[in-house]
Every structure is written in C-alpha cells, then in structure tokens.
Symmetry: C2
Amino acid sequence: MMTIKRRLLLISNSTLHGGGYLEHCKQHIQSFLGAEVKRVLFVPYALHDRDAYAKTARQAFESLGYGLDSVHEAENPVDAVQKSQAIFIGGGNTFRLLKALYDKNLIPAIRKKVFEDGIPYIGSSAGTNVATISINTTNDMPIVYPPSLQALGLVPFNINPHYLDPDVNSKHMGETREQRITQYHEEQDTPSVLALREGGLLLVEGDKATLLGITGARLFQR
Amino acid sequence: MMTIKRRLLLISNSTLHGGGYLEHCKQHIQSFLGAEVKRVLFVPYALHDRDAYAKTARQAFESLGYGLDSVHEAENPVDAVQKSQAIFIGGGNTFRLLKALYDKNLIPAIRKKVFEDGIPYIGSSAGTNVATISINTTNDMPIVYPPSLQALGLVPFNINPHYLDPDVNSKHMGETREQRITQYHEEQDTPSVLALREGGLLLVEGDKATLLGITGARLFQR
Ligand SMILES: [Ca+2]
Ligand SMILES: [Ca+2]
C-alpha cells in the first residue's frame, strides 16, 4: 500500500480572544514541526501589508526556535517554495490569498512539496481554507476575484474556520453559519465541510486526521 | 440635460427581527410602485427552492394589491423581463443569484428595462447587492462561482446590506464588517460602499438617492 506523505496542521484562527498571535497553538506548532525543521517559509498574501505581517509571524516562530523567511521577499516565489523545509500560510482575506497563489503560480509548487516531499504545512484561517478542495466555505468578503475557487486540495473535504454555532438570542437576520453551509450543500456534488470552532485545529498525518483543541468541530455532509 | 430614467428601491433585509416577510417595508414598496403597476416580475434565483420562494413573495405582493409572476416559471426569462412592468429581486445567496442572472443572460435585459424603459426595480439583500457595481461587498458565502463579480451596475457604488456595527463585547476573532470593507478598499480602484443597517432602504430616483428607515447607514470611501 502507498502511503501518502502528507503532514498538515490546519488551525481555525491565528489569535484566540485575549491571547497573542498564535499563542493558543504554539505547543501544537512546536510538536508538529519538531527538531528537524530549522526554517519556515511564510506566505503573507492574505493581508495587504506583507512586511508588517511577516514581522509578526517571524516574532512568533523565532520565539519557538524557528527561522522564518517570507515568500514575498523572495526573488522567485516558486523557487522559494521548492527549497522550503516547511510552509506556513497565515490568515486574512481568503480571496486575496488564493488569487495571489494563482497569480504567482504557487498552487502546483506547494502541492508537490506537500504530497511528494512530505514537508509540513501549517495553515491558519484563510491558510486553512486554501489547504482544502476549494474556498467555497470561507467566511470572507470577496474583495477580489480569483481565477477559480478551487484551492490546494491537500485534504478531500472543505473546512469552515472560525465556526460559530447559531445564536438563538441574535436579532440579526443574516444567515447563520449553519444556514450558509446548508445552502452550499444544496448545490450538486459538494464535499463534506468540517466546521472548526475557534480554538480548534486539525492534524493530518498521511490518511489520518485528528482533531486537537477543546472546542470541537461539526461535520456537515451533503 | 439628459435625465436618467432610474427608479430603484434597495432594501437591506427582507425580514426584520420579529416581523413577517417584507412587513417592515410594505408601505415603502406600495408608495414606490404606485397605482400604475399591476404586476411585478419576481426573481427567486437566490434561494434553492424557487417554487416555495415565489409563493412567499406572491403572498406579500398580493396583500399589497399587486399580481406577481416568477421569472423561473416563464418559458423565456429574457422575454419575461422585456415584458415586465416592475422587477423584484429577493434575497438569499448573492453568488447563486448573480450566477443565475449570467447563466440566463438577464443582465443586459434588466439593465435595459431600468435605464431605458424606467421600470421600477426593487431589490432586497442579495437583490440589492446585484443592483450595484459588483458583489464584492456581499456578506454571503461563495457557494458557487459566477463568471464575474460585476453586477447590474444600476448605481455607481457598492452596498453592504445587513450592515452590523462592530460589537466591542464580541470574543469572536473573525473580521468585523468594518474591517472587511476596509480590506476591500485596500484594493485599487474600488468604489464607495454604502453600508445599510437592517431596517434601512435606499430610494433612487434619477440621480437622487434618499435613505429611508430609521436605522441609518455608513458610507465607506477609499
Ligand atoms: Ca478572514
Ligand atoms: Ca444572504
């Protein structure tokens, strides 16, 4: 039997209320990356100010003992991915992030590193959305138009990060998250959606997925 | 001076907490349509169950004294638009709605009726989003992929319906609506965004726009 070389840590949200950037998942990141990885390649495309974002991410990873290079500082982003030991894609706007991944031709490069070379991939929020089949279940506003909603396809399902349970006391009439995902499943041939509450993480190793954190998740199936 | 024949009633939300379908804006709809209009053409594409949706809309308009035809029941939707006296596009999922308008080639037909024939157009929620330049500022989940985010362009700005002010007590870490619209304006050449709170309506007559309702709106400019 072929084993899929796939190691992913998919985080619902980068910051938990009251905590610092990546603080709630530092230990998970450290045990996921382990001692062999020395440097992480950061993908800051989900936010507009890439320099500031890289600085924030660098501080967090250096405090864990890892060096961090931001792909936006590389002369050749595809080359930077090909040489990377580990990849971290941060949150922000999922449409902006996916469009940049297409514009810079990084989709096949990242897939190859994860599936063939087996390097560890960490995604948070938008970085978790783009790791799945498609960004059809992002919560973000479509501020730009990517050439497709198909994403990296590192797992065979979709994720809804920052999942919020319906609030029975709300007077707001916009759709609840549950209604939105249900509307997605009214469409033909739509995959399952794992709704990850804030604080939740999904660890994927080969064909095995493990839910981490204490807030849990809901699985929506068509 | 050329006068633009344009009459639009753009509603933030079809149902206000505690009320029935279109109940909070019945009087505005009645005075907007007046006595000359006898029948309204309804566009139900934002929801999956078009028959059920048309039934709900029919009841609401019949209670105001107007007949209602649903475009999904017409043999030729373009033809139905061309013969319409007034159009009402209801809410639901904005991506699904816009994709259907493109698939059925209704964009130019509706524009022509509004700009050249001057028929009244009512939009609610998703039906308000598609009346603007683009759906870049919808709140909806991108459950399908329309061929473009460009919309009917009946007004020269975008709208964010169901606008929610930032909640300082929230522990949720997803972006506030204000942050989302601000991210939109980080992109080049983006138009102004009128954020319509629930309960708000925008009446557009020629080149004049009037805010109705008591909840008010915020104007975001790049
Ligand atoms: Ca986001
Ligand atoms: Ca909606």
